[in-house]
Symmetry: C2
Subunit: 433 residues, 2 copies
């Protein structure tokens, strides 16, 4: 497809580039052109041999085009437990409301339930997800079938999956289709033996690849690791050589100066999950400290059983809001920095270097935000508007790989939402009884 | 108008009453009937003499009808400063980004700017607001003209308005039209002299009326009052007899046991504003402590310069989420309690006793929430869904006083949104230059 967007405000997210009024041209999976009307005319002038025929021309009516959001940590199929595991102490939540349900989920269940999450990502302008769940192959299938860009890592631990499977996922999912990729990782320190982690370190060295895990989400987890090994999880992972080729951690709420020193040195990304950390009372991550240290921060929703929604707008507000509360300073963590976390930094963390900016040659993973809704009016500062007052109601369009998957409230993912909901209802009945 | 809603899930918010599938009938400004289909048939059977002719019959397709949200603290016209005053330390924010702008606003500006806020309330299912701003008469006009239910209080202080004006507002706004009412109040302790507050106490006694103010929003404000009078603002107000007929406070972040004892004794409501308290780094209110004490808590968005959006879904998530963080307990402040705060308690705080439940004889202030959006699926627990994953995208309809003011994304408030936006643009140019 060749799609021309015109009469748009364009936020490319390139450093130092302001929002401009102009056009964006998409040809197949890539952005062919993004510039002012004047630049568009000039392009036509200097490329007279090129015949531009459009399958579709979209009048953006002054609304905003920008790179899609990157949800840098999620467990999609946990849609099943949405609102079935709330207001519980953390251990109850995990041991009684989550693990016993997960034990009953099949790969096919996960395939369908992940697609419900895809619907929700699209409504929030999310064009890529960093996923971790039980059955990577069926997840990859769900993503290829719906057209959602998905970077997976494994949740290998002492009780499920294995290092052999991890290597198999890595080799078989990477390069299979344009939507899916795979990064090495484990569930968390507290669920993995030292031996298992040592084997993972061999893998990261074999493939010269980064390494990811849930890290230091809770105070308890961090303290228990110190009891076990005399080191925090970050220190422990580093001592095993797991970060020799970089990587990152999800949550990272309870880090100290030494941890952050290691993260900086090894190029370890911090993915923050403020909605989940709030609802599960895990704490407030030290975002200001990460920024001051020069650690790259990205944002994830976490899964819908812990959050309970897959909404980048809520997460963005929480990243800056909670930092302000933590630091007792209303100027802490500027909204523009947060917008970068939700887009550019997420792309980098996930290894999606072609999905960071809305600019020529990049992947066409683009969203259109409605600026004519009252929450955006009057227009004083669009970037701050997005972070502080933006909501799903503003998402007019979500395009991934040059294909419009969501537009004016309607989905285009190869299956009817109502069919997915019926499927989920069946699964619920079987599992919850 | 006579409107019949059928095929609806109905959440009445009456204590102990579960969600049921059925019908809701609205005749003029009131709810005539709310019950199951069986009960509806029975009604027809026992009221054979009554001829039910409908102006409109709405198939709710299984979506949810419930009482509208009550936004129990806001400053509507501050839409002007939305996203023009962010990421600033609190004193900078107030002294450089807010006060100088407010000094330039006219009553007519406030009239138009308040209407932009009305648009946004409607998108969030808010059917009543508890408003405080500079020109109560023009605000009341904006509310009557758009059909938004509005309870105002005054922001009288040493520098603007007066006790005489306060009494005039009280007498002239109350009873004027079905949309507007007025409650006695002042801006805050730190902006009012003791003499002014004593005069207010005379008024509350004269009218046997409750009293409201911003109270103990920041630690600084609370400590300064203790320095001035040897008492917290709550104690000080109580010592002047201001709470002799009840009342309430907005924010109430920094209260101690003694304050809460007074609040309980005097029937003082606590209106919490978590979005604003987060963004302005004011702190986390002790919601669990209020509930344990039996103090009634309602929820407000605060104005769009401090929040920056008028979104009850964000506020509801924050009320429970921040309580969980504050108490380090994921079971703290159950979502169902929060839903009550956002509806029933708000109505009580605002003196809108006819707007608390969706039941026979009550005012027809009703919203319809879309349960077929992916953020609500699968349906495990609708009340928790609303609080934890609900968003403006779910608001299908907002009805106030029996009139549908918002439906499927379109507004019915007697003026085109685009005209209001143009007006705001003019005001912006004049004031910001």
């Amino acid at each position: 497809m060749r799609i021309r967007f015109f009469n748009a405000r364009v936020l490319t997210m390139e450093p130092g580039k302001d929002i401009f009024v102009g056009e964006v041209w998409v040809v197949e999976d890539r952005i062919k052109f993004a510039g002012t009307e004047e630049e568009a005319l000039k392009y036509c002038d200097t490329h007279k041999e090129e015949i531009l025929i459009w399958d579709r021309e979209i009048d953006c009516k002054g609304n905003l085009l920008m790179p899609g959001f990157k949800d840098a940590h999620t467990h999609s199929a946990m849609t099943l437990m949405r609102s079935a595991a709330d207001d519980l102490p953390l251990q109850d939540w995990l041991n009684n409301a989550i693990f016993p349900i997960e034990a009953k989920m099949t790969g096919e269940d996960i395939y369908h339930l992940s697609k419900i999450a895809v619907l929700e990502y699209l409504t929030s302008g999310i064009t890529s997800i960093f996923e971790m769940y039980l059955t990577p192959f069926t997840v990859a299938q769900a993503m290829a079938d719906t057209g959602m860009r998905c970077v997976q890592t494994s949740c290998v631990n002492n009780f499920s999956q294995s290092v052999e499977l991890l290597e198999q996922y890595y080799n078989e999912i990477n390069g299979k289709d344009p939507y899916n990729s795979f990064i090495l990782g484990v569930h968390a320190e507290y669920t993995c033996s030292k031996e298992l982690l040592e084997k993972c370190a061999e893998l990261t060295h074999k493939y010269k690849a980064p390494f990811w895990a849930h890290i230091q989400e809770t105070d308890k987890e961090t303290k228990e690791c110190i009891e076990r090994y005399g080191m925090t999880p970050i220190e422990f992972f580093d001592s095993l050589g797991l970060f020799d080729y970089g990587g990152g951690g999800y949550h990272l709420v309870w880090t100290n100066d030494k941890d952050r020193e290691i993260m900086k040195k090894r190029g370890v990304y911090a993915v923050t999950n403020p909605g989940s950390n709030t609802k599960l009372a895990s704490g407030i991550a030290p975002i200001k400290e990460y920024l001051e240290k020069g650690i790259t921060v990205a944002i994830g929703t976490d899964g819908p059983a812990s959050n309970n929604c897959l909404d980048m707008f809520r997460e963005m507000f929480l990243v800056t809001g909670l930092a302000k509360l933590r630091n007792n300073d209303a100027s802490s963590v500027d909204a523009k920095e947060v917008l970068k976390m939700a887009t550019v930094n997420g792309a980098r963390a996930m290894g999606l270097n072609d999905c960071d900016y809305l600019s020529e040659g990049k992947k066409a993973d683009i969203i259109m935000l409605d600026l004519s809704r009252p929450n955006m009016q009057p227009i004083n500062n669009i970037e701050k508007n997005i972070v502080y007052s933006g909501s799903k109601e503003n998402v007019l369009m979500t395009m991934i790989e040059g294909i419009i998957r969501y537009e004016n409230g309607k989905f285009n993912i190869g299956v009817e939402p109502s069919d997915l909901y019926s499927k989920a209802e069946e699964i619920k009945k079987r599992i919850y009884g």
